[in-house]
C-alpha cells in the first residue's frame, strides 16, 4: 500500500514509490462540506478542512470502481488484469459491445477488440496467496493476445492478504516484452475516489512513459474523462487541428505507444483538472512537458481561454485569435438563440431559472461559468470531492460568478435528496446511476453522457459542445411529466423525518474524522 512519507515539497511526485499518496495526503482532499464556497476556500487555506466519518453512508464507488476497470479495459493493445475477486471487474463486462456502437465511419479505429482477465481470487487464495494465479494470468495475457502492456489492478482483497504484486512484476518482466504496469487501486486506500486516478497515472508515469526520442511540437496530451463522449473527442480534435495541433488522447481507446510518447508532447491540456492533475505534474517534473489546469473547454468563454492558454504556451497566439474569431462568428449566434430560449423560460418562471449540478470539482470550476453563459443561476453546487489542487481556480471562479453554496458529499444520495428538497431548484443535473434522483416536481436531467455515446446531441466540449449542451438543457425545461409522474406514482426511499432535519450533514461525525 501507500508509503507514508514526509516530503519537503508535497506536490513533488516520487516515482520511486510503488504508488501515489492518497488525495487526503497529497492535497488534503475531503469528503464532506456544506457552506459558502468562500468559506470552503478560506478553510482550505487555513488547513481546517477534515475528512469526516459518516454514520449514514451509501454506495459511492471506490478507487478501483470509479471507474478504472471500465477505462483501462479500453486501451487497445493492452490487457487489463484485475487481481481481485470476480465481482470487482464486473462493470468491465461491457467492453466487447458498448463501444462497437461507435461507427468506424466516425473515425473510430477498427481494432476495438479489448481484452481483460480477472484472477478471480477465491477462498483458497486468501489463505495461501494468489501470486501463482497472478503469474499465470500475466503469462496467459501475453500468450493469448501479445499485448504491448499488461495492466495489473489491485483490490481490497489483494491488498489485505498482502499480495506482493511488485515482486511478481519484477520476477516476470525480464522474460516478457510487454510492459507490466501495476496500479495500486485497493478500494480501502482512500475515501476520495480521485486517488484512483492518481494511482493510475502513477503507474503510467513510472512504467510506461518513455523518455522522449524527439519533441513533437504539434502534439497535445489530453486526458479524457469518462464523461467525454465521442463527439467531444471529435470537437477537441477539430479545434486543435485548426491551430495545427494534434491531440494525444489517453487513456480511453489509446494504444500503448500513445502513453509511451506522452513525454514527447508540446503540452498537456486539461479537460478535467482534478483528473489530469497528477499526470500533468508528473510529465512536467520528469520530462519538462508544460501544462495548465484551468480552464477546461466547457462553454464558449472557457473554450476561448483554453485555446488562448495553449496559444500562449506554444507561441501560436495570432492563429488562436483568428480561430476564436471564426468559431465565435459561427457559434455565438447559436448560443444567443439558446440564451434567448432561457430568457423565455425565465419569464414564465418568475424571472429566474435555478440549476443545481452534481459536479466533480473539475466540472465545478468550468461548468459554473457555462451556466452563467446560458443565463441560468446556480444557487448551490453539489461537489463530489474537494481538495486544495484547484484552490486558486475556485477563488478566480468566485470573482467571476460571485459566492454560492456548495455541498461536498461524494454524491451521497440521501444528502443530495435533502439538498434538492431544501433548495428546490428548477432543474437538477445528475450523474448516471444516481438512484431515484429523477423523481421531482420540477426538472431533472443528466449532466453528461458517457464515452460510448456517439450522438452530437450528447456533446459538451468546445464550441460545438457548448451549443449542443445548451440546447440539451433548454430542451430539458420543456416537459417534466416523467419526473412528475414517477414522483407521484412511486415511493421515496427516505422517511419524512429525514427531510425535516435542518441539515444534510446530520449524520456526519467531524470530531472523530481521520486523515486517510
Amino acid at each position: 500500500m501507500t508509503r507514508d512519507t514526509e516530503r519537503e515539497d508535497p506536490s513533488r511526485i516520487n516515482l520511486d514509490d510503488i504508488t501515489c499518496p492518497t488525495r487526503e495526503q497529497r492535497a488534503n482532499g475531503i469528503n464532506a462540506f456544506k457552506g459558502k464556497a468562500s468559506e470552503l476556500v478560506e478553510q482550505a487555506r487555513s488547513g481546517e478542512l477534515r475528512n469526516c466519518e459518516r454514520d449514514f453512508q451509501q454506495n459511492s464507488g471506490c478507487i478501483l470502481n470509479f471507474y478504472l476497470t471500465v477505462r483501462v479495459a479500453t486501451i487497445r493493445d493492452a490487457v487489463m488484469i484485475v487481481h481481485a475477486p470476480v465481482g470487482c471487474s464486473a462493470p468491465a463486462a461491457l467492453y466487447r459491445e458498448v463501444f462497437r456502437r461507435l461507427w468506424t465511419s466516425m473515425n473510430r479505429a477498427a481494432d476495438f477488440d479489448f481484452h481483460w482477465l480477472t484472477t478471480n481470487i477465491g477462498e483458497r487464495d486468501v489463505i495461501y496467496g494468489a501470486a501463482d494465479k497472478l503469474r499465470y494470468a500475466i503469462e496467459e495475457a501475453v500468450r493469448r493476445h501479445s499485448p504491448q502492456a499488461v495492466f495489473i489492478l489491485t483490490s481490497c482483497t489483494s491488498g489485505i492478504i498482502g499480495e506482493d504484486v511488485e515482486g511478481v512484476v519484477a520476477e516476470l518482466q525480464p522474460g516478457i516484452e510487454a510492459t507490466l504496469v501495476p496500479i495500486h487501486c485497493e478500494g480501502i486506500r482512500s475515501r476520495i475516489i480521485q486517488t484512483g486516478y492518481d494511482a493510475f497515472w502513477h503507474g503510467i508515469l513510472k512504467y510506461l512513459v518513455k523518455p522522449p526520442r524527439r519533441r513533437q511540437k504539434d502534439l497535445v496530451n489530453v486526458a479524457s474523462m469518462l464523461s467525454y463522449t465521442w463527439q467531444d473527442r471529435a470537437e477537441i480534435t477539430r479545434i486543435l487541428g485548426k491551430i495545427g495541433l494534434r491531440p494525444n488522447f489517453v487513456p480511453e481507446f489509446a494504444r500503448v505507444s500513445d502513453f509511451e510518447s506522452l513525454s514527447e508532447a508540446a503540452l498537456t491540456a486539461p479537460v478535467c483538472p482534478t483528473y489530469t492533475d497528477y499526470l500533468s505534474r508528473g510529465l512536467e517534473q520528469e520530462y519538462g512537458v508544460p501544462y495548465f489546469l484551468f480552464p477546461s473547454p466547457i462553454g464558449i468563454a472557457n473554450t476561448d481561454e483554453w485555446l488562448r492558454t495553449i496559444g500562449r504556451m506554444l507561441g501560436l497566439e495570432a492563429r488562436v485569435e483568428e480561430v476564436i474569431r471564426e468559431e465565435r462568428a459561427h457559434w455565438v449566434p447559436k448560443m444567443d438563440a439558446i440564451r434567448a430560449g432561457f430568457e423565455k423560460v425565465k419569464a414564465g418562471n418568475g424571472g429566474d431559472f435555478r440549476i443545481m449540478g452534481s459536479l466533480g470539482q473539475g466540472r465545478l470550476v468550468t461548468q459554473t461559468p457555462f451556466f452563467q453563459e446560458l443565463g441560468v443561476s446556480t444557487p448551490v453546487a453539489l461537489c463530489q470531492d474537494f481538495d486544495n489542487l484547484l484552490l486558486d481556480d475556485i477563488e478566480n471562479l468566485l470573482k467571476r460568478v460571485g459566492d454560492f453554496d456548495i455541498v461536498v458529499n461524494t454524491f451521497q444520495a440521501a444528502e443530495v435528496a435533502h439538498t434538492a428538497r431544501y433548495y428546490n431548484p428548477d432543474m437538477i443535473l445528475s450523474c448516471p446511476f444516481q438512484g431515484s434522483a429523477y423523481k421531482r416536481e420540477k426538472g431533472m436531467t443528466r449532466i453528461h453522457a458517457l464515452r460510448g455515446d456517439g450522438r452530437k446531441w450528447s456533446a459538451q466540449a468546445g464550441y460545438a459542445g457548448a451549443v449542443a449542451c445548451g440546447s440539451f438543457l433548454l430542451q430539458a425545461t420543456r416537459n417534466y411529466s416523467f419526473q412528475n409522474t414517477m414522483m407521484e406514482k412511486t415511493g421515496d426511499p427516505y422517511k419524512p423525518w429525514w427531510y425535516e432535519q435542518p441539515d444534510p450533514t446530520y449524520f456526519h461525525r467531524k470530531a472523530e474524522a481521520s486523515g486517510s
Binding site: C62, G122, G187
Partner: protein, 451 residues
C-alpha cells in the same frame, strides 16, 4: 515493431493452469448475487458492509448488465454501505456497521433490512452476526454472510435464501396448493421478473396458489410465507436447490427439482401437468387450461411462420448461457422449432455434483439427430474460440457475443444471458406458452426480408 512473447516459452503450454483466471466471466461475486436478491424483495433495504465500491460495481456490473436495469428504489447510490477503508481494516468495522444500521433504521423506509458482508469484514474477522443481533428488537434485520471471494452470484442467491431461512422463517400452517418459486436468480437470470410473473399466472391458471418470493408486492410477508407452501419448485439445476433441501428438512416441504423454466407450449404443458399431479389438482380444469393456451399459441405461431422459414429454418444453434437458460432454450429449439442444437456453453460454473445432470438435461429428450456438445466454460476468450470453430446460424448468448456472432459466425444473435448490455429487459421473458413467439419477435430484427 516489437514482438511480445514470453521469452523462451514460445508455444510451450504453462506448467500449471488456473482455469478460474478468465476473461470477462459470466457472473458477479457472491456479494453481488446476495445484493441483487435483497433488492428483488420489494420493501427490503440491503445494507452493504463492504468497501464503498462494491455496490456501484454491481450497479454497473450486475443490475445494469442484466438488461440495462436500475437497481430499483433501494439500488445504486441509495443502498446504505459502510464504505470500509484502511482504518477499519486496522481497528475493525463493527462500530461503523453498528452506526450504519442504526442510522439506516432511522432514515430509510423498509420492512426488512438485509446486512450483506463483503470481502473486507470477512478478511478482518468482524463479528457481524453479533452486531446484527443488537438490532433484532428494533426491526427485522438479517445477515447474509458472504464475500466476493466465496463464490459467484448464483451462490450469493443461495446464501441469501440461507440467511432468510435461518434468520427469519418460523413454522406456519401449510396452505394447500401453495407453491414457492425458487431458482430464478435475480439479475443473473436476466428475465427473472417476467419469468416469475409468467409462471405465477400459469400456475394460478391451473388452480395453484403461488408465492413468487421475489419481485411481488408481498415484501417481507412473501419471505415469511415460504414455510406455508405445500411444494417448492426449483427452476435451476443448482441455484435454490440447497434452500429447497433445507426447507424440506426444517418445515417438511417437499420440492420438485425442475432444473429449468419451461419455454414454449410443449414444455409448459408438461410442467403444468407435473405440478398438477404433485398438488393433486383437478385434471379437468388443468387440461382445459392447457388446451385453451395451446390452441391460442399455435394459432398465433402461424403468423410468424413465413418469416421463420425464410430467415432461420432448421438452424444450427449455439447457446452460451447459465445452465438452466441453456436447457430451456435448447429444448424449445430442438423440440418445437426444428433447429439443430450443436453447442451448449454453460457459463454459471455449476458445482461438480450438478454437472452430470446438466449435461444429461442438455442431451436427452431432444428431437432430431443433434445432441449439443456441452462445455462448462465462463472464459469469454475461450468461448469465442469455441464459437469460431463451429458453423452456427443462431446464437443465443450474452451481449459479449453480439458482434462476434455477427462478424465471425454470420449468425443471428439474441442476448438471453448475463451480461446483456444491448437490450432493456423489464418484465419480458420467454417463459411459458408465449415464450417462443417472444423469442421470434426479438430475434427477427436481425433479418427483415427479403421482400
Amino acid at each position: 515493431m516489437k514482438l511480445t512473447l514470453v521469452k523462451g516459452q514460445e508455444g510451450r503450454p504453462p506448467a500449471k493452469t488456473y482455469p478460474e483466471v478468465a476473461e470477462s466471466p459470466r457472473f458477479t461475486c457472491a456479494l453481488g448475487g446476495a445484493y441483487a436478491a435483497a433488492l428483488a424483495v420489494y420493501g427490503a433495504v440491503p445494507i452493504l458492509h463492504s468497501g464503498s465500491g462494491c455496490g456501484m460495481a454491481n450497479a454497473q456490473g450486475l443490475t445494469y448488465a442484466s438488461g440495462l436495469n436500475s437497481g430499483g428504489p433501494q439500488g445504486t447510490t441509495v443502498t446504505p454501505c459502510s464504505g470500509l477503508i484502511e482504518e477499519h481494516v486496522v481497528f475493525g468495522g463493527e462500530d461503523k456497521l453498528r452506526r450504519l444500521i442504526d442510522s439506516t433504521l432511522r432514515l430509510m423506509k423498509g420492512d426488512l433490512f438485509v446486512v450483506i458482508s463483503g470481502c473486507v469484514p470477512a478478511l478482518i474477522g468482524d463479528d457481524v452476526d453479533s452486531v446484527v443481533a443488537e438490532f433484532r428488537d428494533r426491526a427485522p434485520v438479517i445477515h447474509v454472510k458472504t464475500s466476493g471471494f466465496v463464490g459467484n452470484g448464483f451462490l450469493g442467491y443461495n446464501l441469501f435464501l440461507d440467511a432468510v431461512i435461518d434468520g427469519l422463517l418460523q413454522p406456519r400452517p401449510v396452505e394447500r396448493r401453495l407453491v414457492n418459486l425458487l431458482g430464478i436468480v435475480p439479475n443473473q437470470n436476466i428475465f427473472w421478473k417476467g419469468e416469475l410473473r409468467t409462471l405465477k399466472a400459469l400456475l394460478e391458471g391451473i388452480g395453484a396458489k403461488v408465492n413468487t418470493v421475489f419481485s411481488d408486492f408481498g415484501s417481507l410477508g412473501s419471505l415469511e410465507r415460504i414455510p406455508a407452501a405445500s411444494l417448492n419448485l426449483v427452476f435451476h439445476p443448482w441455484a435454490g436447490l440447497e434452500a429447497a433441501r433445507k426447507l424440506e428438512e426444517r418445515f417438511g416441504t417437499p420440492f420438485e427439482a425442475l432444473d429449468f423454466v419451461p419455454v414454449g407450449p410443449r414444455d409448459t404443458s408438461e410442467f403444468l401437468r407435473l405440478v398438477a399431479r404433485r398438488l393433486k389438482l383437478k385434471s379437468g380444469k388443468v387440461e382445459g387450461f392447457i388446451a385453451e393456451e395451446e390452441r391460442y399459441v399455435y394459432r398465433f405461431m402461424e403468423y410468424l411462420s413465413e418469416m421463420f422459414m425464410i430467415a432461420m429454418p432448421h438452424s444450427f444453434l449455439g447457446v452460451v448461457a447459465d445452465s438452466r437458460t441453456a436447457i430451456s432454450l435448447i429444448r424449445y429449439a430442438a423440440n418445437e422449432l426444428g433447429w439443430n442444437p450443436e453447442l451448449a456453453v454453460v457459463t454459471d460454473d455449476p458445482p461438480e455434483w450438478a454437472r452430470e445432470g446438466i449435461a444429461r438435461r442438455l442431451a436427452e429428450g431432444l428431437q432430431g439427430p443433434s445432441v449439443p456438445r456441452v462445455l462448462f466454460q465462463y472464459d469469454s476468450h475461450l468461448i469465442r474460440q469455441e464459437l469460431r470453430a463451429q458453423p452456427l446460424q443462431v446464437i443465443f448468448a450474452s451481449s459479449l457475443e453480439k458482434y462476434i456472432a455477427k462478424t465471425e459466425n454470420e449468425a443471428h444473435h439474441l442476448s438471453v444471458s448475463y451480461p446483456t448490455y444491448d437490450r432493456l429487459i423489464v418484465d419480458r421473458s420467454y417463459a411459458g406458452y408465449r415464450g417462443g413467439i417472444a423469442i421470434m419477435e426479438d430475434i427477427s430484427h436481425n433479418f427483415a426480408g427479403p421482400s
